[in-house]
Symmetry: C2
Subunit: 433 residues, 2 copies
């Protein structure tokens, strides 16, 4: 019995986080964390449905929801079985099959954010149909099956399908051992919760202290709005976390290149492990120039790196030390996996962007798969963790002692609670009245 996709519904879900400045940074001063939330209904048993979301920060979320609805004709009517029989081709169909829609990207902006929600809903659907969490579905695919899920257009100069199979085969025989390790120990994480720009110094100190007590070893601080305040907070953080634990900094794109260099020159005394988004996410050569001039401080970026072609160049130009893929900014899991493989080939560790709403839920699957099947290494790899909004998910992340414990339930962990969809739908839900 084929599982036919019968409806695509897109919800505009928003949380009023700007009221507390959770998530505030130098660029994004007052975000309302939001989700374009897509449900793919099917003819499958027990109301089988795929759920996926893309993350935005408020206004504009309705644009992504409308874009997701425009993708419906490319998905509705197809069966899960025919889609997964050649998922790479389906991904290409969704991103380039309707050339009119492609025009308003291409493969970037609202239409690509919408693609992420739809593609990730398909992975959720597939995993639920198989009764496995997404990371386990991936781990159980052979190298050839995995590579058939991918689209290599525009990246064959950096990675061919044949190379990808070979890379996956190299680690295939030892997958089971790393899977067992993850089930016991979990995946290492870092916390951003102490470092939001809108928090007072006292709150930063208190949260840092609590973080140390809870076992965190890596802390991230937002910088870039006010250099004096950045220095003051870095000092507070170092006082609380000491010098053995790692401190990362995140400028959220506010600097020109010369500003990035002068700021990092002053912040270097706090020994940041990386500076994240020091300038425009589009400036590949700019990141490379910054990296050359601030070593040994690393350069990290990726949460707004919009597609595999941009990541390919960040790697080719030796512009980054840490690759921060984002499951909602890239066109869903298929494109994320292409980036994981390229990063492994170029020897750059992947530390996914998370936080927002649902991004931790997504990213745990990515990092587990990356470790078990692709990189086979934990060196210099930590997965972001932010302690917000998890209560809205049916199967929220579980983090203990600074580590993500692998999700066990079927799907992509992204299904929201029905009462959340009802309460936070914008603008009609009770949270917005």
């Amino acid at each position: 019995m084929a599982t036919k996709i019968t409806h695509l519904t897109a919800y505009d879900i928003r949380f009023p986080t700007s009221r507390t400045l959770d998530g505030s940074d130098a660029m994004n001063t007052a975000p309302d964390y939001s989700a374009t939330y897509v449900v793919l209904e099917t003819t499958g048993p027990q109301g089988l449905a795929g759920h996926g979301l893309t993350f935005t920060i408020g206004r504009g979320n309705e644009i992504c929801a409308a874009a997701a609805r425009l993708l419906a004709p490319l998905v509705v009517g197809a069966t899960l079985e025919e889609i997964v029989s050649d998922l790479g081709a389906f991904w290409r169909h969704l991103t380039a099959g309707d050339s009119q829609l492609r025009w308003i990207g291409p493969e970037k902006g609202a239409i690509h954010l919408a693609t992420a929600a739809v593609i990730n809903a398909l992975w959720d659907l597939w995993a639920k149909a198989q009764g496995k969490p997404v990371w386990k579905l991936l781990v159980d695919l052979s190298p050839q099956e995995l590579v058939r899920c991918l689209d290599f257009s525009y990246v064959t100069d950096a990675l061919t399908p044949g190379e990808a199979v070979a890379m996956l085969e190299r680690n295939a025989s030892t997958r089971a051992e790393r899977e067992r390790e993850m089930q016991v120990l979990g995946y290492p994480a870092y916390t951003t919760s102490a470092g939001w720009l809108g928090y007072s110094d006292d709150k930063v100190r208190r949260l840092a202290r609590e973080g140390v007590a809870a076992g965190w070893t890596h802390f991230k601080q937002k910088v870039g709005a006010d250099l004096e305040a950045d220095i003051r907070r870095a000092r507070i953080l170092r006082e609380e976390i000491g010098w053995e634990r790692k401190l990362m900094m995140d400028a959220n794109q506010v600097w020109n290149i010369d500003q990035a260099l002068s700021s990092m020159h002053l912040l270097a005394e706090f020994e940041p492990w990386w500076i994240e988004e020091p300038t425009s996410p589009d400036d590949i050569l700019g990141h490379a120039a910054i990296r050359r001039q601030i070593a040994p401080i690393g350069v990290a970026t990726g949460e707004q790196c919009h597609n595999r072609v941009m990541f390919k160049q960040l790697l080719q130009a030796e512009a980054i030390d840490f690759c921060q893929v984002d499951n909602a900014r890239l066109g869903g899991l298929n494109e994320v996996i292409v980036v994981l493989l390229m990063a492994a080939k170029f020897g750059v560790p992947v530390c996914p962007h998370a936080g927002g709403v649902g991004l931790c839920e997504y990213a745990q699957h990515v990092s587990l798969f990356d470790y078990i099947c692709v990189s086979a290494s934990l060196k210099d790899r930590v997965l972001e963790y932010v302690d917000h909004l998890h209560e809205h998910f049916v199967d929220p992340v579980v983090v203990r002692g600074g580590r993500y414990l692998p999700p066990q339930n079927a799907g992509y962990s992204i299904t929201m609670r029905p009462e959340t969809l009802q309460r936070f739908e914008f603008p009609t839900g009770p949270a917005w009245k």
Copy 2:
């Protein structure tokens, strides 16, 4: 009396061009040329209003129109006088002032396309208020006044405001002489009308012959869907236009890098002047690699190069021989001018992308300004011309003997006829019933 902006209206206007395959190419097989059309109403005399549009190819146009409406709170209520007193700051306000909206770009995709429509409507408004065409408004601004219209964020490593002033000053004393030359001779153009992919060989031959008779010296052919057909058409075109006239080719992004190299190796016998969009518009390093390997064939791109940061890198990486800025893809005229200045500094000629609907109307102002104030050269510069949809404009382009004659009426030449807005509004207009 200040001119206050009182309303922003965005129309979804679509033309059913897919019925005749006008505009068809290897990537965009059946476009319905469309405009997100923005009107800024004001308190000015005689119903003074600014008109601007962004270009799309059909589905998805409603997304851009919705995005333009979301920008309204950033524009409505301001006065023209306060906006133009620091237009560079206003441009920054529109693109980064609402960080929630910025997230769904940033500076790319639907929100940046919408920005183009709004910004260009502001230029139309300013020029109408001054009683001048936009190109003449620009020519009459001093170097300092011009540079105050620009936002240099993320590009100061390539061009500083001071350098921009110096470049403009270098040509300021000879502006009047080039302005007179343009008024008499017009700006050189090339035609794409003969080369659409959906046309039969006979139609290509007939249109090429008519083009030669009409005085055209540069012809562009679409390639990339079928290499044998590309070769057959190139032969037809060379038979009709000879070898002294220039032949350009345009692949509209369908190739990976290796495919671009092998295709151009075979097409080289037809001596193309440039290959346009040989691969992904995001692949800066890929364009550079192709350029190194196919010289003396030039590399051209830009119609989907989404912002100044990408153009900066195309120039820094020596990836292009021709810079094809697009007034609707970049965030309007302010960002276009930043790119013109960077291109001049790097010695790359600007040949704007036009065609679509309204893009010729826009681009003539850009090329006139570029010649009179920035480049002061016509060497290797031709402005695209496509003979479609001009009848919908109140003040359409005038092209004679392969040259654009400078527009004389006030504004940006982009105001559509009221009956067009009524007839082609999607989906309610009579053209769509």
